[in-house]
Symmetry: C2
Subunit: 424 residues, 2 copies
């Protein structure tokens, strides 16, 4: 029954039932945690063959000794393999260390302090530097901006991706806006896949924005589908070529959620000019990334089909966990007006929107009975969710049993907070 | 015979003999390369057991799953192992990726843009930022400064390390000097080991310099001895404690020249306050370094004795290469006044000083007969060797036979250039 249609008596009865249920949960001394968007132990175990796969053969296909120095942009066969996940030519890829976040930070730091097109082009030369942040979004993206003194402007996230009407209007009006954060497939946290129209409009931003505008296109979940028929992502590079904006997009990816979260391989793709400039900058910081780990990944997967087959094994482990949360939300909250969510077909998160003003309270209620949820506001710039409504649920890491128990406790907290609010 | 004591006739006769010898070398179509300070193939092969050493056991001693996210400063047992190479407590160590250069860049970038002690302390707030660069030194250190707009002031390198009289005078007089580059053991390229007095005076700089001065103490060859009885390095940390300057020193090390040059583990050590501040900064750039590779290194070496035994194998491969160069220099150039050099007891380089004004010419002569040497000036800030005299020789990578052939061709070029200069 919809909470707005409940009578005072019904609300009171429901409150009592929920308080009883909540007290019962408190008795269980739960220790549950749905905060961490990291792969479960079974998932990382899928790649255990990585260590030792080289069998003493450390030579790349072109004869490069992967053990020694050099190779600032990566081994050719590794570039080939990873470029496939982003749908770009290998020549437009550069391989880094184990963290795509490090590459993102380096790109922003480069554009800000050094300049994508020489010192004159450094964002830091200007009085203000601003970034568009679709919300809810990924806290670590926002943290980079905050740390580097870049002002963040939130823009709404729709089921098709960022609200491009607003994005275009802001970007065209303010040349201090130097970029936008995107997680285009299975967005963190809403799980939406950007529509073809959104992708094209993102590709076109470079032509309407001020100088040196970049789309930070973090394709973290490029091949991370839960269902074989999940929506594909349109090819942003193709649109960039059409609109002559290739310099305005940096794409990122990694195997953090394909092989080992902490010991995978990260990479970025951009225009030849951007790559050349960034490579030069990177050359002051390193002699080259870990090529041995690149070679391990190549030997382990061989090709795109190898990655696809591997991702199906991840999906088999993740699907029931997502389903447990979604089924519980559906059976307990659908039609109640107490919350909204999407059913993602990939990625790592379920984004839940409570009634306005309740996210903090729900998270507090959960914490008090031993259920850790991502802090309220985490998905917004400066940790500020103006509606106090968004809660990010990350079901990948705990056991299926714990995910189920957490989901059940969560809906009790949501209902309790909602009914109490209604009764105020 | 000393070149200054040769008669005109003797010089002419020597010139003719050298030109004949040089022409003979030209006929050989040599393809030799003594530029690269990187380990040879036999050296990196010493660590081939790294890949596969985990045997499927990815758990650290404290139960941490090395495959997953986290652990911004490294696995405890890896910190313990690597701290030993720098002679610091594990609690004062932080582990990065595969490159100590990346850590050095990050520290300078942090001190410059973010500030070791908050935004007020950022070097970038001041009009000028300067660094002392002992010369000859390591080109990649100087490149970081140049890239980040830090003015470099060369100071002479003595056989005891940087000329500390000059260093202290400069540092005390100019608070814009924010740091000094050091390779304290088997300095790149002279091979000298800083004396105990030099180390203590470096440790004391923090007390006489302007605010937020740091010693960039790149202990790249901490355990890289050619001889078992090579000079030890005094403990800078002990001196820092004595002079209450612990915040003024950042130490760096890596296994790049212990295991795999491109796939090792890098680390830094500093005061608890510096580490805490730097870790916070680093947390915006990465979720954590590659712990799996850390674990491989721990299982491979077990302890300091394991590293020491391994380094003896490197020494056995390097010693004859260094000896080949040094013997040739000694037998062909000793007492001729045509050049000076030290005999390093460790590290990767031999530093040769020709008569003033001849380094470029010697390198050109060598290049013309197929012998690649490090470009003249590479060991000086801005590539400018005012005496045009220093040439860095790196005998580690080529085969012993090639090192011998290169050394022989090199001394012919040195003599030819010297005699020609004398005859002008």
């Amino acid at each position: 029954m919809h909470v707005e249609q409940m009578s005072g008596e019904q609300l009171q009865a429901e409150l009592q039932a929920l308080e009883t249920r909540y007290a019962e949960l408190a008795e269980l001394n739960l220790k549950l945690d749905l905060t961490r968007g990291k792969p479960g132990t079974e998932q990382v175990s899928l790649s255990d063959a990585l260590d030792g796969i080289l069998g003493g053969d450390y030579r790349a296909a072109d004869g490069t000794d992967a053990r020694n120095y050099g190779g600032l942009d990566g081994l050719p066969e590794a570039k080939q393999l990873f470029a496939g996940t982003l749908g770009v030519p290998a020549a437009e890829l550069l391989i880094g260390g184990n963290s795509s976040l490090t590459l993102m930070y380096a790109v922003i730091d480069f554009a800000l302090g050094t300049g994508l097109r020489g010192p004159e082009s450094a964002w830091g030369n200007e009085d203000e530097v601003k970034f568009l942040c679709p919300v809810p979004g990924y806290d670590r993206h926002f943290a980079i901006c905050e740390h580097l003194g870049i002002e963040m402007i939130p823009v709404p996230m729709l089921s098709t991706g960022p609200d491009m009407d607003i994005v275009e209007e802001l970007v065209a009006a303010d040349p201090a806006i130097k970029g936008i954060w995107c997680v285009p497939r299975f967005s963190n946290p809403t799980g939406c896949v950007y529509s073809r129209a959104t992708v094209e409009r993102l590709a076109r931003l470079g032509s309407i924005a001020g100088d040196n505008f970049i789309v930070m296109y973090d394709n973290a979940y490029a091949v991370h589908t839960l269902d074989a028929d999940a929506e594909a992502l349109a090819d942003i590079r193709e649109f960039c070529i059409r609109h002559n904006t290739q310099d305005s997009v940096f794409q990122f990816g990694s195997t953090s959620k394909i092989t080992f979260a902490g010991a995978g391989v990260a990479y970025l793709a951009s225009s030849p000019d951007n790559l050349a400039a960034f490579k030069k900058h990177l050359g002051f910081q390193t002699i080259g990334p870990d090529k041995v780990n690149q070679l391990r990944h190549v030997r382990f997967f061989r090709d795109a089909a190898g990655i696809a087959a591997h991702m199906e094994k991840h999906a088999a482990l993740l699907r029931p966990r997502f389903q447990a949360v979604l089924d519980t939300l559906e059976s307990e909250l659908a039609g109640t007006g107490m919350g909204e969510w999407l059913s993602p077909r990939g990625g790592y998160f379920i984004s839940f929107n409570s009634r306005p003003g309740l996210a903090r309270e729900i998270i507090r209620l959960a914490a008090d009975i031993g259920v850790a949820l991502t802090p309220a506001g985490a998905t917004f710039p400066y940790g500020d969710d103006p509606a106090d409504s968004n809660i990010r649920l990350a079901p990948s890491y705990p056991s299926l049993e714990d995910v189920q128990a957490t989901a059940e406790a969560f809906v009790v907290c949501v209902k309790l907070a909602s009914i109490r609010q209604k009764l105020q």
